[in-house]
Amino acid sequence: MSDGHSTDGMDLNALRDGVRTVLSEQASHEKVAAFTNAEGVRDQPLWSQAAELGWLALFADEAHGGLGLGPSELAVIYEELGRAVAPLPVLGTMLVVEALARGGDADQQAAWIPRLAAGELAGAVSMLAPGAPAPTLTLSTGPGSGVVLDGVVENLLDGAAADVLLLLAREGEGLRWVLVEPAVDGVTVEKAATVDRTRHLGVARFERVVLPAGRVLTGDADEIAQALLHHAALALASDARGGANAIFEITLDYLKTREQFGKPIGSFQALKHRCADHKIALVASGVLVAEAVAKAASGDSAAGRYALAAKALASEVYARVAQDAVQLHGGIGYTWEHPCHLYLKRAKLNEQLFGGPAAYLDGVTDLLLAAA
């Protein structure tokens, strides 16, 4: 992921440079802070820019207006967004594309993918997690050929920013993925604010919401869920990788310039050793994330386990580095003005999104045991 070209031949370094340049302007720490202070749900200028630059089209196939690229390119986007702590609901949108590509029929793909790839629609999906219980949302047959949704879905990542929701619902004994627009009658979506203000969670309520049958994905719900979980795991691992490296660099810069006792505090050995520990952890988790991305890109049979392992390790390292960054900065790192807390809060939310650390470790163990 970090170097060279993806298998499809895209120059990943050029992509990374391009994305980073845009974000350093459009999602500078000042702009991110302004967005978070305004308590928005979607940074519309940034979203439009991302759409314009084709970031949202990377992953969709060419038949539907996309670039047909894969996990390697997407990981660059996720990592750079993490590095900038940028408020951009790319993950939910790409998950909808992924679900449609895997489990949608031709009509569904044609109806939705182009609009998602163009950035006309932002998406949000049910919060999956390794070993999570079944959803309470129910799908039943409705008037005519339609279906009816009832229930509540919590924890929709960036849900209040979404134009389309992709939700896992129970239909009798089975599970189904359903596409719903929040604008439809009987649907309400509320923002549940998180401490990390670069993102939020949404709560969607459905009261006898009637939808055409064509909103139900025909693919196997479990297979789709697994693919989405792995995609989300890789995305969050990449976000963590980018964020951890960024806050670590910010911290190193501070340690080199802040003077106490007549010298830069970075010259104190105890701090040096902590930084060395962080660096090694960043390298170790970095190569694991890169390999997980490479395995996803090549369709390796162990890709799922690597994705779960990468999320477990990278989000833990991100939290550790961001937590120590505040301590290493001292008072200034504890202020609202300083970006430290943006990273710390994003790191702590990352740890919990799409399942917490224990769930990921247990997921890895299960896969290892199955193969042992």
């Binding site: 919060m127 924890n155 549940a192 604010a193 998180t194 401490v195 990390d196 203000r197 969670l201 003077e259 106490q260 006792f261 007549g262 505090i265 104190f268 105890a270 701090l271 505040v326 301590q327 001292g330 008072g331 504890y334 202020t335 609202w336 003005e337 430290c340 807390h341 710390l344 809060k345 702590k348 939310l349 740890e351 919990q352 999104l353 917490g356 650390p357 224990a358």
Partner: protein, 413 residues
Amino acid sequence: MSVQTATNPSTATRRFDPLARKDDLDAFRAEVRAWLEAVVPADWRARMTGASEADYVAFQRWWFAEMGKVGLATPHWPRDWGGADIGIRHQVIIFEEIARAQAPNPDMFVISLYHLPATLFGNGSKTQRDRYLTGVKERGEVWCQGFSEPGSGSDLASLRTRAERKGDVYVVNGQKVWSSYGAFADYCLLLARTDPTAPKKQAGISYFILNMKAPGVTVRPIRQATGQAEFCEIFLDNVEIPVSDLIGEENAGWAIAQSTLSAERGLIIFELSERMARTLDADLADAKRTDAAWLKDDEARRAFTRAYNDMVALRLMIRALMQEIETDPHMGSTTMPTYIKVHFSELLRRYTEFRLKLGGLSGQLRQPIILGGGHQTGNAMHDFLLSYAWTISGGANEILKTMIAERALGLPR
């Protein structure tokens, strides 16, 4: 909000006087408990959840006044200076009962109650003690601390705020930072440089009482990672401090500042540790009642029990310190306060993070906090963030560890 009407009706009907029952520990405890049951508004946590700053400040003042009415604001002060001279066993009872009653933390008065007396007892003049201790006790005067500066954090002795003697006043110029409740403070414990030519930078520092209403004092709140803003910057522009508000000798401020700081590592943590104990017990009882999933998770459950054991050890360390203080009130010789501060702050970090993790995604939701709730605000993330205040301020743990290594363990500089 009218805080007065919030008190329970029973307050009016009976006068409480725990200190009159000092000689019988059980009776003393019963009286403290009865008073707390009568006076602590059952709904204060709900009312202070997401309250406005003005309501919060009013509530703090009301609570401090209530404590003062029964002599429990300043019971740890010497009798000569307006306290009740109570010893460790009474203090334990007060803190245990306060924790049990989940009474508010008098956060705004921490400097007034602990740092100010620790500073004045040994070093203040009689006039200063009479004036300022009485001010706290009788008029609820709020104090803040003016030690750190933007360029002087860990390296406090490098401070650059300048005080120049001109006749009967010192003229002070400079900038202070991280002063809790500076925006509401009446006075400030101020360190400033009086001799810039002293060969050792510690030797040129003096200790002043600064009237926050004096001309030239400007206060700017700093918003913290928690979103709150009780920390402030203080700008000093030709502020005049009367010579009578110099504490101790000119240029002898550094040593006095150490007694101020040591206060932070004693009784304040004592109260917090009693509250922490209460929290852990309550968390476990809740888990038992709700048959919480984490009790069946070996990793989470053992993390809890490790924290519990650490908490028990913390309380024992504090009791050991209190015993030392009873024997020798000047506790300059003991390193225990430093061990306690590091142990407490790291445990606080670990436990608040544990709770945050247990909360899963719910723990990530932004929720209004209970102002005055200390480290149990009902918001796991807020409590977690607030734990940094303890690892960074009052001597960052890094500084304290070096101090332990050199002073207690005798490792070479």
